[in-house]
C-alpha cells in the first residue's frame, strides 16, 4: 500500500463521476443512475483496502498524505486515517451507493443534478473525516452544505424551502464562529512556538492554557453541537429529516450527524482537554436531556419519519454521553454507536421511503395490518426496528452496552438516567411497529400495496448483513479503534492531570508563602 495516495483517490473519485455525469444526456435517466451507482460502488470497493490494510497495532495516523497548499499561512493538504475515523470513512462509502439505489424511483425530476449533488456530498463528507489540517477540515465541512442544501431544497417535501434554509443557517452560524476560533488558536500557538501552522497534530502538542481553551472550546463545541444535534440546538433536525428525500435523510442521519460527534472527539475534545474536563457536567446534562426528551417526543409523533428523526436526537444524545464519559468503553461505544445509528436509522429512513412511495403518506394512522400484505417488507422492517432498539445479537446492542458501561464507570447516576433510553426506544419503536404493521387493515388502499421488488431487497440486504456482522463480531471493528482511543485518552489524561498538578503546585506555593 506504500506510495498510493489511497485516501485522496477515494475522496476525490466521486468528483470524477460528476464529470462523467455532466457529459451524459440529461434525458437518459437510467444511464445516469447506473453510472452514478457504479461510481459510488467502485468508490466503496477501493475504500475497502483502507479497511483491510489498516494497521491496528499503531495508534497514529495511517495512509497520510501531505502537500503544501498555502505556504505563507502554513496550510497544507494533510489527510490521514486512524482508528477513530477509519470506520466512519468506510461507513460513508458504504452508504452512498445504497442511497443512490434507494432513490432509483423516488427521484424523478432533475435526476442528473440530484446524482451530482450526491457525489459532491460524498467527497465533502469523506474529506471532512480524513482532514488533519484545520483549514482543510473547514473547507470540507462547509463544502458539505452546498449539495445538502440543494438535496433538501429541490427534491424535498412540502416545506422543503424552509427546512433547507434552516439547515444551512443553523450550520453556518455555528461554523463561522469555529472559523474565528481556528484562527485565534492558529495565532496563539504560532506566537508561542514560532511555528504558524494549521496542522492538527502539531496543534495537539501545543495546548493553550485553560483561559484561552474555554472560549475556543465553546466556539468549536457550538458548531459541533448544532451538527450532532444536541438539545436544545436540535430543532433544525426534524424539519430537515422530514422534508429531505429518502437519500437525503439517510445521508443526514447516517453521516452528517456523525460529523458533529466526530468533530467533538477529534477537534473540540482533542484540542481543548482542560476545557472539556471543565464542561463535562454541562454536556452530560444536555446529552441526558436529549436522550429522554428525544425519546418522549418521538413517542408522540403521528408521522413515522418525524418519529425516527426525534429518535436520532435521543440516540445521538447517547453517543455524546459515551464520548463524555471519557473512558475507553464510553468512547469506543460512542464511536460504535455512531456506526450503528448510521446503519439502522439509515435503514429506517429507506424503509419509510419505500412505504411513502407506495402510499404517499407517512402518517402512522394511515397504515395498519401491513404484515399480511407485504411480508418481505415486514421482515426487513422488524430486523431494522430491533437493531435500532438494541436487541442483543444485533449491532445496536453492542454500542449501547459499551456506552452505558462507560457511563456507569464514570458516574452511576449518568448510566441510570441514560439507560432509560433503552426502555423508551423500545417503547416508541415497537409501538410504532405495532400500529403500522399489525392489527386489522383499516384503509382500503393498504390492501393493494405491493411488496418489495428485487432492487429494494438488494438495497436492504447489505445493511441487514452488516447488522448481524457488527452484532456478532464486534471485536473486528473495536480492535481497530483500541489503540487510537487509548492514545486519545492518554493525551487527554496527561493534560488534565498535568493541570491539576500545576494547581496543586500553585496551591502549595501559596500555602508556603503564608
Amino acid at each position: 500500500m506504500q506510495g498510493i495516495p489511497i485516501i485522496s483517490i477515494v475522496t476525490f473519485f466521486p468528483l470524477l463521476g460528476v464529470l462523467i455525469l455532466f457529459m451524459i444526456n440529461k434525458e437518459n435517466e437510467r444511464v445516469l443512475k447506473g453510472v452514478a451507482f457504479v461510481i459510488a460502488l467502485i468508490d466503496f470497493i477501493i475504500s475497502l483496502p483502507v479497511l483491510f490494510y489498516f494497521n491496528e497495532n499503531t495508534p497514529g495516523f495511517q495512509f497520510t498524505e501531505m502537500y503544501v497548499w498555502i505556504e505563507r499561512l502554513g496550510i497544507s493538504y494533510f489527510v490521514g486515517i486512524d482508528g477513530i475515523s477509519l470506520l466512519l470513512f468506510v461507513l460513508t462509502t458504504f452508504l452512498v451507493p445504497i442511497c443512490i439505489l434507494c432513490s432509483w424511483t423516488y427521484i424523478h425530476k432533475n435526476v442528473r443534478e440530484f446524482l451530482i449533488c450526491m457525489l459532491v456530498l460524498e467527497t465533502g463528507m469523506l474529506g471532512a473525516f480524513v482532514a488533519l489540517d484545520l483549514f482543510l477540515f473547514y473547507v470540507f465541512w462547509e463544502l458539505m452544505l452546498i449539495p445538502m442544501y440543494f438535496i433538501i431544497g429541490v427534491w424535498g417535501g412540502q416545506r422543503r424551502i424552509y427546512a433547507a434554509i434552516k439547515f444551512v443557517l443553523y450550520t453556518l452560524f455555528g461554523s463561522v464562529l469555529m472559523l474565528v476560533a481556528i484562527l485565534v488558536l492558529y495565532f496563539y500557538v504560532g506566537s508561542k512556538t514560532g511555528d504558524y501552522t494549521f496542522n492538527l497534530l502539531k496543534l495537539y502538542e501545543n495546548i493553550p492554557p485553560y483561559e484561552v481553551q474555554i472560549w475556543l472550546f465553546a466556539a468549536f463545541a457550538l458548531s459541533f453541537a448544532i451538527k450532532v444535534p444536541m438539545f436544545p440546538l436540535h430543532t433544525w433536525l426534524p424539519d430537515a429529516h422530514v422534508e429531505a428525500p429518502t437519500a437525503g435523510s439517510v445521508i443526514l442521519a447516517g453521516v452528517l450527524l456523525k460529523m458533529g460527534t466526530y468533530g467533538f472527539i477529534r477537534f473540540a475534545m482533542g484540542l481543548f482537554p482542560n476545557a472539556t474536563q471543565a464542561s463535562i457536567p454541562f454536556f452530560v446534562a444536555l446529552s441526558i436531556i436529549g436522550i429522554i426528551y428525544g425519546a418522549l417526543v418521538a413517542m408522540m409523533q403521528p408521522d413515522v419519519k418525524k418519529l425516527v428523526a426525534y429518535s436520532s436526537v435521543s440516540h445521538l444524545g447517547a453517543v455524546m454521553l459515551g464520548l463524555f464519559s471519557l473512558n475507553r468503553e464510553g468512547i469506543e461505544g460512542g464511536i460504535y454507536q455512531m456506526l450503528n445509528h448510521g446503519l439502522s436509522t439509515g435503514a429506517l429512513f429507506i424503509m419509510i421511503g419505500m412505504l411513502y412511495e407506495r402510499r404517499h403518506t407517512r402518517l402512522i394512522a394511515d397504515f395498519g395490518g401491513l404484515t399480511k400484505q407485504i411480508p418481505v417488507f415486514a421482515a426487513f422492517f422488524m430486523v431494522v426496528t430491533l437493531s435500532s432498539i438494541g436487541l442483543p445479537g444485533l449491532n445496536g446492542f453492542i454500542g449501547e452496552f459499551l456506552i452505558f458501561a462507560g457511563a456507569f464507570k464514570a458516574n452511576t447516576l449518568w448510566a441510570v438516567l441514560g439507560v432509560t433510553s433503552v426502555i423508551l426506544s423500545a417503547a416508541y419503536m415497537l409501538w410504532m411497529f405495532q400500529r403500522v404493521m399489525y392489527g386489522p387493515i383499516v384503509h382500503e388502499e393498504n390492501k393493494k400495496i405491493k411488496d418489495l421488488n428485487l432492487r429494494e431487497i438488494m438495497t436492504m440486504v447489505p445493511i441487514v448483513i452488516m447488522f448481524f456482522v457488527m452484532g456478532l463480531y464486534p471485536n473486528y471493528f473495536l480492535r481497530k479503534m483500541h489503540l487510537s482511543v487509548n492514545e486519545f485518552l492518554n493525551r487527554y489524561n496527561k493534560h488534565v492531570t498535568m493541570s491539576i498538578e500545576n494547581k496543586n503546585i500553585v496551591n502549595e506555593q501559596v500555602k508556603g508563602g503564608k
Binding site: K26, W69, I70, E71, R72, L73, N110, E113, F135, Y138, V139, E142, L143, L145, I146, Y149, F150, G153, V154, R160, I161, A164, I165, V168, L169, L172, F173, V176, L177, L179, V180, L183, V184, Y186, F187
Partner: protein
Amino acid sequence: MGELNINFWSIAPQLVLICFGFLLMLIGGYTKVSKSGYLGQISALGIALAFMVNIYLFGSRKLGFSNIILFDELVGIFNAIFFVSGFLVCLLSDNYIEGKIKHTGEYYALILFAIAGMSFMVSALDFLILFLGLEMMSLSIYVLAGLFKQSERSIESAMKYFLLGSFSTAIFLLGVAFLYGAFGTTNFAYMLQHFTKYFMDGKSLPLLMGSALVFSGIVFKIAAVPFHMWTPDVYEGAPTTVTAFMATAVKAAAFSMLFRVYLLGLRGVVVDYAGIIAYLAVFTMTLGNLSALAQKSVKRMLAYSSIAHAGYLLVGFTSLNQIGLGAVIFYLISYALMNIGAFAIISFFEKETHSTELNHLSGKGFKHPFLGFMMVIFMFSLAGVPPTSGFAGKFYIFTGAIQSGYVSLAIIGVLNSAISAYYYLRVLVYMYFKDAEEPISNINISAPQVVAILISAIGVLNIGVLPGKLFDLTIKSVSFLF
C-alpha cells in the same frame, strides 16, 4: 522636488486606454448604429492591451512627471483589478445595451476613460493628480449611469449620483485645501517625509480637519456607512452592466485612494483612524446585510450587499498589517469576479423579463442549466462558502483582523457573513426550488458574454482552490509599507 523628469512609461497603461477611447469615439461616429456590435470587442482589446503593458511594467518602479506619478507593484495590481473588471464589463455589455443605447461608441469610450481615471488615481503621488483621476472616473460614471435615456430610473440614478458625488468631491477638495495649509504641499512623498518635522508637538487642527474631510470623500466612494445612502438607488437605476462596473472597479478605485492617501501621504494619522474605521466597518457590514435581507429585487439586493462587502474590506484595512492589507486587495479581486458574474446573469434575465425581481427568476435554474450553475458558483462565493474565492478572501481578511487582535471585529464579520448567506441563497431558492411561474423563453447570449461569464466563474473557483499564489502577490504589493 528635483528637475522635470517626464517618464511616459509611468502612465503607459493609461495612455493606451485613452488612445483607444478616442479611437472608439471616432469609429463609433463613422459606424452605422446597426453595425456597431463589434465596438465592445475593440474596447475589450484596448483594455487587454493596457493589461499587457501593465504586466510588462509589473515589478518595476517608475517615477514620473516631477514625482507626481508613481508606478509600483501596488499600482500594477490595482490596475489589474480595474482592467479585468472593465474587460469583463465590455464583453458583457455586448448584447445588453443593444437597442437601448444608440451610440455605443460613447458607452465604451466612457468606460475606457473611467478606467484610465482610476488608473491615474492609484498611481497618483500628489493630491492634485489624485483629484484629476477621481473626477475623470466620476464624470464618466455619472454619464454612464444615465445612458439609458428612455428609462426614468436611469436618469434618476445619474442625477442622484451626480449631485451627491459632486458634494463628496467638493468636500474631498476642501480637505485637500486644509492639508495644503498644513503641509504647504500636496505631494504624498513630501508629506510622508516631513510629517514628523511638522507635527513634532501634536497634530494640528488643519491636519485633522483636512484628513477627516478627505476621508469622508473616500468613504462616499467606497459606499460605506454613513455615506452609503446613494448606493441602492443609483445601483438599481443604472444599466446593470454599469452597476457591475460601479460595484467592482469604482469600489476598488476608492480603496486604492485609501491606500495611497492614508498609507502613504497621511501615514502619520492612519493609526488615529483605525478605531473609527473599525466602527464604520461594523456598521457598514451590519446595515448592508440587514437591508439586503428585505429586498425583493436582486439588483437592489446586490447593491446593499455591495455595502456589506465594503464593510468586510474595511475590516481588512483596519487591521493594518501585511495580511490584512493584502487581503483587501485579494478580496477586491475576488469580489470583482464574483460580483460581475452575478450582475451579468441578472442582466441576461433582465433582458428577457424586463425585471430584476426575485420571483421572475423562479424555476430558471433548471431551464437554463449553464446560467444556473454559474449563478450557484457566484452566490456561494458571495456568501463566502468554500471552495470559492469569496471564502478565501474572507478567510484572509479575518486572519488579518485576528492577527492584529481584532477578534470581536472578526466575530461580527463572520456572523454578518452567515446572515448574508440567507439572501444570497434565496436567489437560488427562487432559481431552483420554486417552479416557473411564466413560460420560459430563450435567452440570447452572445459568445463574448459566455467568455466573460466563464472567465469570472473559472477565476472564482481557481482563486478559491489555489489562493496561495495570488495572495503572495498581493502581500508583496503592500510590502513596501512595512
